[in-house]
């Protein structure tokens, strides 16, 4: 197999997807709109508005089970250029910082009890402060790199409850992208720990590749919510990430990259790793899948309309039908989630290169979605 030397161009971060690997050829022009689109495009998503959290960037908004708050990551903490984790109460707009302000954090999830908050953090890395300073110096130098996610091997999973912070994973390697099961008993997450602990069985070529792209060895894992009984669910090379449980807690949906990192498709499997099923067959980058609470369909994002023009689509949970286009907006639209009631859609949008990503919302018409998917 010919291996691309990928140029990593990250448009946006994601628990669901970290890297867009761009080959050296030009970005293709978006194809003409010939694919299936919803006949009632406008009716799926209405009253679009920007939530616009402050800070350089904000994204990855995930709801508590009762819909009363949202947890998100944002670059807004003084002295730390990296994401920290915040919750926003949706009755009053009160914002609370959850992480401790040190290091990098990402990918938070609220336990169904509404109190425990799971996220990944590098604050125990002894170089955490040094890395902060380096990044600040870099930004102060006037340079702005295209966003890149470095899969810092000091990322571990933590659960915050009030004043208490419990460490769930300790292994070297990137442990992140975690989410609780609907009953709160399990955690699915992504990790490249096998590249560090020798269990990966990597060839020399693969070790070189891993040096270039740390996501190459990321797989999906599951464990108990106290961090015990870790099981690996995927084993294939290439980035498997962004696992979320189905509303009934029986399946996990995730996105799977090909080995060369050029194509990603949506998959689902049982929580024991059996019955892996490919849901999309777009041959492009389709990722960030998230179940509608009805469990009837999955929303995701794909760049089938142009390399940088990610748009939201829905596909039935079995992958029997053609995906239906949901959004038709300029720039990047990704990381979609439904509210627990399923009547609103929140997603991360980056309008253009002059704007950093922010969270948007829209009213969601479930009935129209069912009709459009022929369900």
């Amino acid at each position: 197999m010919k291996i691309f030397i990928p140029i990593i161009v990250l448009l946006c971060t994601s628990c669901s997807q970290r890297n867009y690997q761009k080959s050296t050829f030009e970005t293709p022009k978006p194809p003409p709109m010939s694919e299936t689109t919803s006949p009632k495009d406008a009716e799926l998503m209405t009253n679009i508005s920007r939530l616009t959290f402050e800070g350089r960037r904000a994204g990855e908004g995930y709801f508590s089970a009762d819909g009363s708050k949202i947890v998100f990551q944002s670059e807004r903490h003084d002295g730390n250029p990296f994401y920290q984790i915040y919750t926003m109460d949706l009755e009053f707009g009160d914002v609370e910082m959850i992480s401790n302000g040190v290091g990098k954090t990402t990918c938070a999830w609220i336990h169904p009890d509404g109190e425990q908050i799971l996220y990944a953090s590098t604050h125990l890395d002894s170089d955490a402060l040094k890395k902060q300073k380096a990044e600040i110096d870099f930004r102060n130098s006037g340079k702005e790199r295209r966003y890149s996610w470095d899969y810092d091997e000091y990322f571990d999973l933590f659960v915050n409850k009030g004043e208490e912070l419990t460490q769930l994973t300790t292994e070297l390697g990137y442990d992140a992208e975690g989410s609780f099961s609907p009953d709160g008993k399990l955690i699915a997450f992504a990790s490249n720990r096998n590249a560090y602990n020798g269990k990966g069985g990597m060839s020399e070529e693969e070790i070189k590749l891993f040096e270039l792209d740390k996501s190459y060895m990321i797989d999906i894992f599951i464990m108990n919510s106290n961090g015990s009984d870790v099981k690996q669910l995927t084993t294939e090379r290439g980035y498997d990430g962004g696992p979320f449980f189905s509303p009934d807690g029986k399946r996990i949906v995730w996105r799977k990259f090909t080995e060369d990192g050029m194509i990603a498709e949506i998959y689902s499997m049982n929580i024991d790793g059996t019955d892996k099923k490919q849901i999309t067959h777009e041959g492009k980058m389709s990722w960030a899948p998230y179940y509608h609470p009805s469990q009837k369909y999955i929303v995701f994002t794909t760049n089938k309309n142009g390399f940088a023009n990610f748009e939201l689509y829905i596909v039935d949970a079995e992958g029997n039908h053609e995906p239906i286009r949901v959004s038709n907006l300029e720039g990047f639209d990704g990381l979609p989630v439904f509210t627990p009631e399923g009547n609103e859609l929140y997603w991360t949008r980056k309008k253009d290169n002059n704007n950093l990503s922010q969270i948007y919302r829209a009213d969601w018409n479930h009935q129209v979605a069912l009709q459009a998917l022929g369900l």
Partner: protein, 601 residues
């Protein structure tokens, strides 16, 4: 208190209802507006104001919120409701008395008393523009003119035929007050305004319109008819028309003494004193940090007695219900008080700062109530007293977006608004300017950051047609919710807001030199390229020309219009009675029309 219980229950279901307000809120909003408009035109100092005040105070009592700094919610203030002519006005020329209101009339801000006989000097338009880069290049009616101890005879307005650039430059110094100040700086004894020959005006004598700035100067100021001045000039062999033509071209015309004319005058103006009242309640905070004050004015225009009424034709003299202006804001403020008291009772709101709810009166007469209030503190800087003033004035006509004004008064506003709008989900347009024609400005001038909510102007503004059936109650309740959440957030935190002082835009809002009247009503909420018009005043030139609501004005008198400033600029340059072409975009098509501006005064 049925509504309270209902909200409480809905409160637990906030995921679904977080973005919308409850039906009960909307019904309450409606009831408040209905009761306030029923009270009448709510002119400060009248029985109608009393009725509205009684309603508001009853509501506050029912909400269970305490009076601020007093046993009573009411904080009365005395004000000058108007000025009328006294019995002793006199204007004599060489011993001959002229007739009051027919031949002459004092200006409302004239000095009072007896003014002994003195000579008269003609000083053109009476304008002195400050010197620019090149000395002597400025417009100056007083060049080589000694007016010391004499009356100056000054033409009203400004040169009619000068370029629009010059017009805009001079405009700031062309108001009657500017001209009088200028005359005083030249040590004149008094000012006689006259309407130049062939100038189109509604009345040659300047009306005794009370404009809320009560102070009488020391200098006598009157206006006389053109006939009198013409006689003076004719007698000394001057051709006024010829002079006028030169003046209007902007050419320099040397002023001159008018020999043999000696003028004396007695000015007798009587101010009508009345009492208005602010209504103030508060929720006590746990510290003595500067308070958050949330306000809305409850007064309106009565039957349109003041000059700011835009009633035309049959409407003149009718009750101005002011449903949007500002029963809507009062309704929003009552909702906010009710909501925050409820949250406090539920332990969801623990204010560190006092939260003050102020229902202002006298706003329409010139921000009297709020102005009186800020002055009672006897400080030049109120930043130690108030963290911020939030204001709701005209929040009843939400269409595309809510306008948040005064954003430039603090750097933090933008992110605070965005954060607190998350549960409400309004579309918001932010405007920086903090010099606003509403009560918030009273605070801004005392270094307090302000934020004023506004849902845009409309054709019913300041007319008897501003009625309750046109109110968007859901929009009103959402706006109130947003302001409540901002207030709640501010009052729960120690963080100060940084205060940003803005440069005041040059003579914004004064229309000293603006002669032409078109009657368009710009939609200030719009950020479209051009000036979006929410309509035209009834009977105005713009209405006659066919301006419709929703027209986007893009060109006027051959000049491209991109924003309200361009528009004001061109308006200043228009000549009364001269047809101009206007280009608007209507339903995606360009439409041209002709407008004939009339005289503003």
């Amino acid at each position: 208190m049925k509504t309270l219980i209902l909200i409480l229950i809905l409160g637990f279901n906030f995921a679904a209802d977080a973005k919308s307000v409850s039906k009960a809120d909307i019904e309450t909003a409606k009831r408040h507006v209905a009761k306030l408009t029923e009270a009448g035109g709510r002119l400060t100092g009248t029985e109608s104001e009393e009725k509205a005040a009684a309603y508001i105070s009853t509501q506050l009592k029912e909400i269970g919120i305490r009076p601020w700094n007093s046993e009573s919610y009411f904080h009365p203030f005395e004000f000058t409701a108007g000025t009328h002519l006294g019995k002793n006005n006199q204007f004599s020329v060489n011993g001959k008395d002229y007739q009051l209101d027919k031949d002459f009339r004092p200006l409302v801000f004239s000095g009072l008393g007896d003014f002994e006989e003195a000579g008269v000097v003609f000083a053109g338009y009476g304008i002195t523009e400050p010197e620019g880069d090149k000395p002597g290049d400025n417009y100056d009616s007083y060049t080589h003119l000694d007016v010391k101890g004499k009356w100056v005879l000054i033409q009203r307005f400004m040169p009619e035929d000068i370029s629009s650039e010059q017009r805009v430059k001079i405009n700031a110094f062309a108001s009657e007050r500017s001209k009088v100040l200028n005359a005083r700086q030249h040590e004149a004894a008094g000012v006689i305004f006259v309407t130049a020959l062939d100038t189109i005006v509604k009345s040659q004598l300047i009306p005794l319109t009370y404009d809320s700035s009560t102070a009488h100067g020391s200098m006598p100021v009157i206006s006389i008819t053109s006939d009198i001045a013409e006689e003076w000039l004719n007698n000394m062999g001057k051709d006024w028309s010829a002079i006028q033509k030169k003046l209007d071209k902007g050419d320099f015309v040397m002023g001159f003494d008018i020999p043999d004319v000696k003028v004396s005058a007695t000015i007798d103006l009587v101010q009508d004193k009345k009492t208005g009242k602010n209504i103030i309640a508060y929720i006590k905070g746990s510290t003595d940090l500067p308070a958050v004050i949330l306000g809305a004015h409850y007064d309106h225009l009565g039957h349109g007695e003041s000059s700011t009424s835009l009633a035309k034709g049959d409407e003149i003299g009718m009750v101005h219900p002011g449903a949007d202006d500002n029963a809507s804001g009062v309704s929003g403020l009552l909702l906010a008080a009710e909501y925050l008291v409820m949250l406090k009772n539920q332990n969801k709101f623990k204010p560190k700062r006092d939260v003050i709810f102020a229902f202002w009166s006298g706003e329409e007469l010139g921000l009297l109530g709020s102005n009186h209030f800020v002055k009672t503190f006897d400080k030049k800087d109120l930043s130690e007293v108030f963290l911020a003033n939030l204001n709701m004035d005209m929040i009843g006509r939400l269409r595309d977006s809510l306008v948040m004004q005064g954003i430039g008064s603090s750097k933090q506003w933008k992110s605070i608004i965005e954060q607190r709008n998350v549960p409400v989900g309004l579309n918001i347009t932010m405007q920086d300017d903090a010099y606003l024609p509403t009560d918030a400005m009273s605070f801004y001038l005392f270094n307090v950051p302000i934020l004023s909510a506004f849902t845009g102007s409309h054709t019913e503004y300041h007319t008897p047609r501003d009625t309750e059936n046109l109110i968007n109650y859901e929009g009103l309740a959402k706006t109130s919710k947003l302001m409540s959440l901002i207030t709640r957030g501010l009052s729960m935190h120690d963080d100060a807001l940084d205060f940003q002082k803005q440069a005041r835009k040059k003579e914004k809002g004064t229309r000293g030199g603006m002669r032409a009247y078109m009657g368009t009503i710009p939609d200030y909420a719009s950020d479209a390229k051009g000036v979006l018009l929410s309509g035209a005043t009834k009977g105005s030139p713009a209405e006659k020309a066919g301006i419709q609501s929703g027209d986007l004005l893009i060109e006027l008198a051959g000049t491209k219009i991109e924003n309200i400033y361009d528009f004001t600029y061109v308006l200043q340059a228009l000549k009364v009675g001269k047809t101009v072409k206007a280009k608007v975009i209507r339903d995606d098509k360009e439409v041209e029309m002709e407008i004939i501006p009339t005289s503003r005064q």
